[in-house]
Symmetry: C2
Subunit: 236 residues, 2 copies
């Protein structure tokens, strides 16, 4: 029908030109592979995630327990973490986190904000090696390979995706999740999966809009603590 | 209250002695690590699982796709499969599947059945290298490491647990799941998790009786197919 529509009326000459230089505040964002120096920040982000999910009573992770279980395999073959950093200044790849890990080239985006962000935890989350560059850690995603026997191929499972409060609703969570999806596509993997709390309708809407399906019929079963010990011991 | 109960009456002398030699039929069961020669059986079991779950339309796995994605890492560090074998005869560890993989010693159980099992697919599922020993593959479990950031340690996720129809309700599914739980305990892992369809009340009851918790609030989100491709491509 659009092809049969009458031609548009002539456009009147503009009386004012659009502003060629936007007056917004730029925020530079970067997704990169985490390394061991990021563990203190990751630990703090995990605690903030637990507060958000009303699940602080379940947290027993320490910096030591994270350090001893992360980075034991090459990235993407086991537990893998992307860190999200933001800065009011452009990233200089040769100066910040110079070891550019070959399996992953950092992804950068530039946002334009109406107002600069007032980050109350700027000092706590200042990036390692960021002296003089005003870079802070704003979030992370932890993921690892899973397997679909129906597809006969691996995928990625996203265990945690978190962006600090003052950086939310700016597309940064989407940037992290997209980075995982892009890596899955690059590796020929079949799926990216994660879980969401059924009361988190805002998140569910967001995931559905990006094309994800929420599997209503499946429930997670968990064997942990004393029940795991008892059941495991009974096998021998 | 039991301690205050009156003493039981004297037991009369039995007029017939209990049968000291049970007349049941023994079924010997063994859980061992799968190897590449098991792939044809595993593929057939995956198809049977899809039929059971009413999800055959989702299956695109082939023997080739399984072969190219399994056994790429040492067992327990990535995708790992235990095969369940059964036989009317005791297993002779030195004769069947002689390469006793060092990271896992096979687990055996002996069941006593009232009637021998009539396995209509005995020839299809006859074990590799079982010539003359009457061993068949009766089920499998596929699992891999996952990670709990709250615990700060890994666990195992069980993607598939399946026992063929004629071998069900004999404790063999429990034997497979126990083998995974025992391995988790052995490795100091914090959890074993899996999913169940919410209409499968028999399975849910079984899992709850073994001490597992069903997480009612969580829903799985899945990004796959064209939506995954589109989302992943948008990141670059």
């Amino acid at each position: 029908m659009a092809a049969a529509a009458p031609p548009p009326p002539p456009v009147p000459a503009p009386t004012t030109l659009p502003n060629p230089t936007p007056t917004g505040h730029p925020l530079f964002a970067r997704v990169r592979l985490a390394d061991p120096s990021d563990v203190p920040h990751i630990h703090k982000l995990i605690l903030q995630l637990a507060v958000f999910e009303h699940l602080t009573h379940l947290v027993s992770a320490t910096e030591d327990s994270l350090s001893s279980t992360f980075f034991t395999s090459p990235p993407f073959h086991s537990f893998t973490i992307f860190v999200l950093e933001v800065s009011p200044n452009p990233f200089l790849p040769t100066l910040l986190h110079p070891p550019s890990q070959p399996p992953f080239s950092p992804i950068t985006r530039t946002l334009t904000l109406d107002l600069p962000i007032d980050d109350p935890e700027k000092e706590t989350f200042r990036s390692v090696n960021s002296d003089g560059f005003d870079v802070v850690v704003a979030g992370f995603v932890l993921f690892f390979p899973n397997y679909s026997t129906f597809l006969g191929k691996p995928g990625f499972y996203v265990e945690d995706l978190f962006v600090r409060d003052c950086y939310r609703s700016k597309g940064l969570g989407k940037m992290l999740l997209s980075a995982v999806a892009a890596q899955a596509v690059k590796m020929g993997y079949g799926r990216v999966e994660w879980v969401v709390l059924d009361w988190n309708v805002k998140a569910i809407k967001f995931y559905e809009e990006m094309g994800a399906k929420v599997l209503e019929e499946w429930r997670i079963c968990r064997l942990t603590g004393e029940a795991l010990q008892a059941y495991g011991n009974a096998a021998n």
